[in-house]
């Protein structure tokens, strides 16, 4: 019974890792391809100071991709989940701030051109993503991961 339960937990953890990791890799692709357009998307939120705008727009998609790959592989799993959770909290704050200030902008989440307008549905989506990111962050054991493979070989 305990074995079946831990097997189920490992399966759920693997699925969550794959889904959240894939979402972040997908989210990074257009931003990596169109850095100038993504910088404009970030600027539209009016939150990042101008001197830091390009640095932020250059780093964020790479961080999304790195964390997405790490999470899918199960390498540095908790660190990747922590960074993904932190990024998601940042997205939630940015979207909430845009809603409060009644900014009519596109979110720039997955597509730099056009894309989804900032709205409450995005807020809910990111809260769901945050909850999902907490699973690999808090899970004690993850047998189907590079981390576990490395530990077994040592």
């Amino acid at each position: 019974m305990t074995g079946a339960r831990s097997g189920l937990q490992a399966t759920v953890l693997l699925l969550v890792r794959l889904i959240v990791g894939a979402v972040f890799i997908y989210a990074s692709l257009d931003k990596l391809a169109e850095p100038a357009a993504f910088a404009q998307s970030v600027a539209n939120y009016r939150l990042v100071p101008l001197p830091l705008l390009h640095l932020f727009a250059w780093l964020l998609p790479i961080l999304e991709a790195v964390c997405g790959v790490a999470l899918i592989l199960g390498w540095q799993r908790r660190g990747a989940a922590l960074l993904i959770a932190a990024m998601t909290v940042m997205f939630i704050i940015a979207i909430a701030a845009a809603l409060i200030r009644d900014l009519d902008i596109s979110c720039g989440c997955f597509h730099t051109a056009g894309g989804h307008a900032v709205g409450r549905d995005l807020l809910l989506r990111d809260i769901a993503l945050l909850v999902a990111a907490l699973v690999p962050l808090l899970a004690a054991r993850d047998p189907w991961s590079l981390d576990a493979l490395r530990n077994r070989s040592h």
């Binding site: 009016r46 001197p51 705008l53 390009h54 660190g79």
Partner: protein, 155 residues
């Protein structure tokens, strides 16, 4: 604690990858953003010099000179119409048979977009919907080697 240590490692990897990609990519962003390009309080969006040049070569947009002064006394972007803030009604009346509210317009001034934006805002009030302001104005256009004609185009 282990999560923070792992996160730090991933951040270092990210910074290294960012530095490498910044070094090798041709479309890298400048280290510091140009304040003019992100002047968010403008009435209409800015268009970059490269994009404006592409529009010019495609003939898809009309160019509008908003600089004060008399037309014909200065070089302009070829084919430009003149609409100045101080003479907006008269200038608009002179071109209204040629420029329609649905036409895409690129407005330019000397360099900064502030004065141009005043014209853009008034044109927007008159129903012009597709307005862009040339980033860097005529000075940047000339510096970038954009086509210039010595005389004002007559509509």
């Amino acid at each position: 604690m282990i999560a923070f240590r792992q996160a730090l490692l991933l951040l270092v990897i990210t910074v290294v990858l960012a530095a490498v990609s910044w070094a090798v990519r041709g479309d890298r962003l400048s280290p510091v953003a140009d304040p003019e390009f992100y002047a968010l309080d403008l009435s209409v969006p800015l268009v970059s010099q490269d994009q404006a040049r592409a529009f010019f070569e495609a003939g898809s947009h009309y160019f509008v000179d908003t600089r004060p002064g008399e037309p014909g006394e200065r070089p302009v972007i070829p084919g430009s119409f003149t609409i100045r803030e101080a003479q907006l009604d008269a200038d608009l009346a002179a071109v209204m048979d040629f420029l329609y509210p649905e036409d895409p317009l690129i407005l330019y001034g000397s360099d900064t977009p502030v004065m141009v934006d005043a014209v853009a805002a008034r044109l927007a009030d008159r129903g012009y919907e597709q307005l862009l302001i040339l980033q860097g104005g005529f000075a940047a256009w000339r510096k970038a080697g954009g086509p210039i004609s010595g005389e004002e185009a007559t509509p």
